[in-house]
Structure formats: structure tokens, C-alpha cells
Symmetry: C2
Subunit: 216 residues, 2 copies
């Protein structure tokens, strides 16, 4: 197809200030957009997506997964544009956005305070959020939003923020420990009140999804 623009965009989620937030870049006029860029001829789609936010973030692993490809004619005025969109989760220590870049300053936005967005980017964020909810239910995605070591209260808090509901402390701890996907460390986190034990995610305990089927 001629006159085709192929780019990638990333929906980057992280937890800051007890809320789920998205990283956005300045867009057209006063609007914002999902960080993104054109794909280079010799570069994989995933590498292009990773490049779209590398340099804006501090160290720390990012979880990156393809979300969806948007390509309807007319979704971007002027030129037929196909956007392969990726979904990214980053832990808090990587949130420090670097001071400047050619693309201008990126900023974190709470999900309920999103600014005006270019094209179909609102719709894309809404879809990414739905996907995050699903992932929380059947995978260990929640750990990608946490530091390497965390307390059980922090872990529970993460789940509560994303799922949007309160969870029972004793049931939460029982089930997460029985699942065997985290292990205790000798360290503790100290602060106000009794110090809490630190845990870490066991990547080896491949959390095989033992989902009960909807209809067997």
C-alpha cells in the first residue's frame, strides 16, 4: 500500500501517589498523545516500542507486550496510519522522567484526570486499562508495578488500586502465600508502626493459571 505510515505507540502504566497513572507526550496543539514513533526499516516492532520510551525512564525492568493494532482509514487525518500499540508496566523506581528530549517533556497523568488526547488515543487507553484488569485476574502482572522487594501490605494495596475494590487482609495473605509465587526475605521495611517483612516475586514459580473454567 502506498502512502502508508507505520508507527508504534506505548501505553505505559505505573503507580504513583496511590493511583494508576499513564505517561503521555505532548501532541498536537494543547492535546497530548501516547508516546510513539515511526518504525525504522531494520528494527522489530517491539524494539521500536521500547525505543519510544527508553531514555525517558530510569533503570528498572519494564514489562512490554503487544496490545492491539489500530489501522482504520481516517483514524488519523491526512494519511493512512497503522499504529501497533504496546502495553507497558513499570515499577516505581523507573518513573523518574529525564529532564528533556527532542520530543518534549512527557508527564504522568492519573486515569481520571486525562487531558485531551489526539486521534483515537483515549479509546486506546481505555482498552489497555480493560486489558490490565484481565491480566491482574489470571496472571502475575501486578508484580510488574512493584519494586523488587515489597511488603504484603504494599502488594495488597496495588491490587486494591487497580481492581478498585477493598480486599480482606487475612484472605489475601493466605492465598498469595499458598500460591507460592512470592518468598520472604530476611529484610524488613521500617517506618511508622511495626516493621513489615519484605517479600520478593519468585519468577521461577511459573504461576500456571489454574483458572476454573467458565463452562467445562
Amino acid at each position: 500500500m502506498t502512502d502508508l505510515s507505520l508507527n508504534v505507540h506505548v501505553v505505559i502504566f505505573s503507580l504513583c501517589d496511590d493511583a494508576l497513572q499513564v505517561l503521555l507526550a505532548p501532541g498536537e496543539k494543547d492535546a497530548w498523545q501516547l508516546p510513539g514513533q515511526d518504525v525504522q526499516p531494520a528494527e522489530s516492532l517491539e524494539a521500536a516500542a521500547a525505543r519510544a520510551f527508553a531514555g525517558q525512564l530510569g533503570p528498572g525492568e519494564a514489562y512490554l507486550e503487544q496490545l492491539y493494532t489500530y489501522g482504520d482509514p481516517g483514524r488519523v487525518p491526512g494519511q493512512r496510519t497503522v499504529s501497533v500499540v504496546y502495553f507497558v508496566l513499570i515499577p516505581p523506581e523507573a518513573q523518574r522522567s529525564s529532564p528533556s528530549s527532542t520530543a518534549g517533556k512527557m508527564r504522568w497523568f492519573r486515569l481520571n484526570e486525562l487531558p485531551a488526547l489526539d486521534h483515537d488515543h483515549s479509546e486506546i487507553i481505555a482498552y489497555a486499562l480493560r486489558r490490565l484488569h484481565y491480566k491482574m485476574e489470571y496472571s502475575a502482572a501486578g508484580f510488574e508495578l512493584l519494586p523488587d522487594e515489597f511488603t504484603l501490605s504494599e502488594l495488597q494495596h496495588t491490587y486494591e488500586i487497580i481492581l478498585g475494590e477493598k480486599l480482606d487482609k487475612r484472605n489475601f495473605r493466605r492465598r498469595i502465600l499458598e500460591a507460592g509465587i512470592i518468598e520472604g526475605t530476611p529484610r524488613r521495611r521500617t517506618g511508622e508502626g511495626r516493621p513489615a517483612r519484605l517479600y520478593r516475586y519468585r519468577a521461577d514459580a511459573v504461576a500456571e493459571v489454574k483458572t476454573r473454567r467458565l463452562f467445562p
Copy 2:
């Protein structure tokens, strides 16, 4: 990006002869490939995917969903090719492949008897199959592979073929009926043995996924 080819492919599943099968088109030399074609300038990606198999199939609704976008440089020799791949489920009455087409004859293949395939199409089919398994667990996808009206034995059989395991008849019936997603019709299917009641899928009974979380 210049010199870029954008196309769509479809992985079409259906049940024939008590087995899950895929529809393939003749490819390069003696190999086969997933049906597909270039995207037209004014056409949506989904419409292009639908067009890739329209005409090859008889009437009957097809379930169509975007699967994944493959675009690594080098996956297709010669030109950078980005393929948006769709996942399709069709019921048995739509299987009749029409006698001819410009692209040559398509054929159904059992999953364990796949021929040599072009490029990364084997990998794509393997991924589509994994996705089908997931979908069977948390959604009502199984019904897309059945005719409008079906017996409980046929439904159970469908699940057994795709999941690859035997299911208990009484438990299966109890749970599928309690879920309220199918309803009886006055008709029966007659054959050898006692005639079986025909059921139909209730599209209105939005099968909300009450998946039990892996970790709450």
C-alpha cells in the same frame, strides 16, 4: 517507512470429522500459507481480513478477532512485511469451500497433519491455537464452532475435541444449564438411538466471566 508491505492474514478454525481443522491456501512452491491479502487504501484492517476468506465459504456467521501483528524485519524475505493476523471461528455449515478462486483452491487441514508452511505461519497457527484454548476457558467461544442449534452431546464433544480431554456428562450438563447461556428448543435431533433435544445459544445471556482470580 518506505518499501513496506502491509497485509492481513486469517487463521480460520472449524470442526470437521471430529477434529479441529485450519483452512489454508496454496503458497510458494509446494508449501501452503494462511489466507491473506494486501490491505486496500480505503479499507479497514478487519474488512480486509473478512475479504480474505469471503467467497471461499458458505453462509453462516464467522467470529473474527484480531490475533497479533507480526512485523519483524526478515520474517518475509525480500521486503519488510507487516502482517496483521486475525483469528476466525466458523460453524460447520459454512465450511463448504467454493470450487475455485483466483488464489487457487483452499483446503482444510487437521492440526496434527499440517503441511509445510510459508514464513512464520506455523508459529502463527501455534499461537492462534493457544489463544483458542484460553478463549474456551473464559468465554463462550465454543459456540462459534457449532451450528445454530445443537445437542448437549455435540456441545460436550466440541469442548472435548478442543480441550483435548474427556468431560463428565452429568457435570457438564449441570454446569452448562445452570450457567443459563443456552436454552432448549422444542425440536429434537433424531438419529440412531433416542432423539436428543436441540438447544441454542442465548446471545443475550452475556456470559459475564466470573473467573475466580488467581490471586485476589
